[in-house]
Amino acid sequence: MTDHSEILMNRTTLAKPLGGRLSRLASGHVIAPPLVFAVMLGAVWLLNPNYLSPFGISIVAATAAPILLLALGQATVLNVGSIDLSNAATSLLGTILLAMILPGYGFWGILAILALVTVIGAIVAYAQVPSFALTLGTLGVLQTAALVTSDSQTIYLGANRELVSTLYTTNVGFVPLSFWLAVAVALVFWAALQFTRAGQSMTAMGKNETAAILSGVPVRGLRIAAFAVSGFLGGVAGLAILAQAGSASASGIGSALLLPGIAAALVGGASISGGQTNPLNVIFGALTVAFVPMAIQALGVGAQSQSLVYGLFIILVVALTTTRSRGIVIK
């Protein structure tokens, strides 16, 4: 019931006077992600402005691009109240498949990955199993699939290399194309959530699934769609990784992106219990996560404390931004 009124509220927000919109914006989870990033940027600028050179910016953006794509996928799934632990493994397998079949069939590789993850989503929706356990299982399967398809070797890009590497080598305003691509995806995702029936239904489903079912929201189809989006963006992230690295392996850049992807979505204000996602803030979440290692160096703390700072950061940001109004039970 509240979900309906919230949906209606979302729709009517656009017509509201500026004052009402500003007061909505002021709530913590909306304003915090850009603020956190700005504070970190400011601190680094004060202490060591050299890190904000065009070169530094381009490195942060290139690192942030695959994280952002994975985080956007994760945010889609989180928004419907599920979680996808296998999306980084999907992107890893995608990278390997892309590198192997790029001379000729690169596009079909992405489509094959898309089909695969749609199946995973369908299992979650139809077998009604908890996504955490299921995607933990598919994570293992996909990791092994990556090892087997690559034969545990590193695959270097040969022919048609420039098809992919342009994403990394072309800069627009110091920032590689892959990052702009991810930002474009975020914009499209934001518009889809705000203005389409499917987007609004997904948010309703995340807020209260039982209410959504009773209101006739096609919950199964939407959950499948959310997982398909996550997998598809995993594949696109694979493209960005391949563009940057020029090679693919089961233990390459993509293998450790699961937690940064989740962290970026959470720091970007997505709620782990569903029903709350702002793709535009996820951009800042990904930038923050990509910027932390550099900020630590700039502050002169030493690279070894990176994980420690990461951990404190996630807890701090989520503790500051999480909404506690909806229901009293937090799991």
Partner: protein
């Protein structure tokens, strides 16, 4: 509320009708994880048939040795999952405590030996990380998934900082390095330690206010709170116990390896959560138990050991665990499907 009736509160109040022994045994048998035991037996028979070495005494001892570390971890993980929360931090806590322990025990990097104080410090570190997670989760109302993701990184960070840039710290005391493998009554000491942790977990879950409170929260947190249970303190205690057990597992794993590494817990999360889930501990809380989860760990380790002996590449381990997890959870939840059921 049939599930509530099962969770008797052991303070002898009027509601907790004591069952007479035969009734009790029959009730216990009805809830026994016969499917799990059967799967373990079938697997053991198949593997022995595939490679007779599987059933040898040496291999069985080896199996008990391998099962020890995940067994200790799974006791804590199960307690947290039964409460309806999740603990992702095990690998980080293991790394931090393992490093703390080895740097305070006789090692090749520092000429120190704090003896039992090394244990105390390492366990206290794990307890502290668990308390941190519990307090942030229960008092600041941050979802446990996020908090323990954070303490995973924090633990890993502490491990990396302790590791530093120096040389690999390896254990120089022969007595300590040999202790896990040495046999007592034909069973490796490592397994005795795990069995003690399991026994303790069983006692806590069945006969203490903490254990019964954990189950009550897992069944329905709102009702548990309304009945006057101290929900926040129970949650904090559960995470603290889980941290303590992860620390113990970190020490044992370090001893088994003979040298310290922040990554000592690598892969444990991927063993213990599938083990708990396969054994019937629902991630929504209130179901399952430590003994079931322990059987789940046995099943997975047995499977891994048997497949290696049968000549399957160890690289396939995560794929096989994953496939089993997928099949098992679908099979378990298939009959429970319904139009209005919400599965997240």
């Amino acid at each position: 509320m049939s599930s509530f009736a099962r969770h008797r509160i052991p303070d002898g109040s009027a509601q907790s009708a004591r069952l007479v022994p035969p009734e009790r045994w029959r009730a216990a048998l009805r809830h026994a994880p016969l499917g799990m035991i059967l799967s373990i037996v079938v697997l053991a028979v198949v593997f022995t048939w595939a490679n007779p070495r599987f059933g040898s005494v040496e291999n069985l001892q080896n199996l008990l040795y391998q099962v020890a570390v995940p067994l200790i971890v799974v006791v804590g993980t199960t307690m947290v999952i039964q409460m309806g929360s999740i603990d992702l931090s095990v690998q980080g806590v293991m790394g931090a405590s393992g490093m703390a322990w080895i740097l305070m025990s006789p090692n090749s990097r520092l000429a120190v030996d704090f003896g039992p104080w090394a244990w105390v410090a390492a366990l206290a570190l794990g307890l502290g990380l668990g308390l941190l997670a519990g307090i942030v989760h229960a008092r600041l109302k941050v979802p446990s998934f996020v908090v323990t993701l954070g303490t995973w990184y924090i633990g890993l960070g502490i491990g990396v900082l302790l590791y530093g840039n120096g040389m690999l710290p390896s254990l120089t005391s022969e007595t300590l390095a040999r202790w896990p493998t040495r046999l007592t009554l034909g069973v490796p000491n490592a397994f005795w330690l795990a069995a003690a942790a399991l026994g303790l977990g069983l006692l806590v879950m069945n006969y203490t206010r903490l254990g019964r409170g954990i189950l009550a929260i897992g069944n329905n947190e709102t009702i548990a709170g309304a009945m006057g249970l101290p929900v926040a303190s129970i949650k904090i205690m559960a995470f603290a116990v889980a941290g303590l057990l992860s620390a113990l597992a970190g020490i044992l794993a370090t001893m088994q390896l003979g040298s310290g590494s922040p990554d000592i817990g690598s892969g444990q999360l991927f063993t213990v959560i599938p083990a708990a889930v396969i054994a019937g501990t629902a991630l929504s809380g209130g179901e399952g138990g430590v003994v079931r989860s322990a059987l789940g760990v046995f099943l997975l380790i047995l499977l891994n050991n048997g497949l290696v002996l049968a000549g399957v590449d160890p690289d396939f381990q995560s794929g096989i665990f994953g496939a089993i997890l997928v099949v098992a959870i679908i099979a378990v939840s298939w009959p429970l499907r319904g139009r209005l059921k919400v599965a997240k």
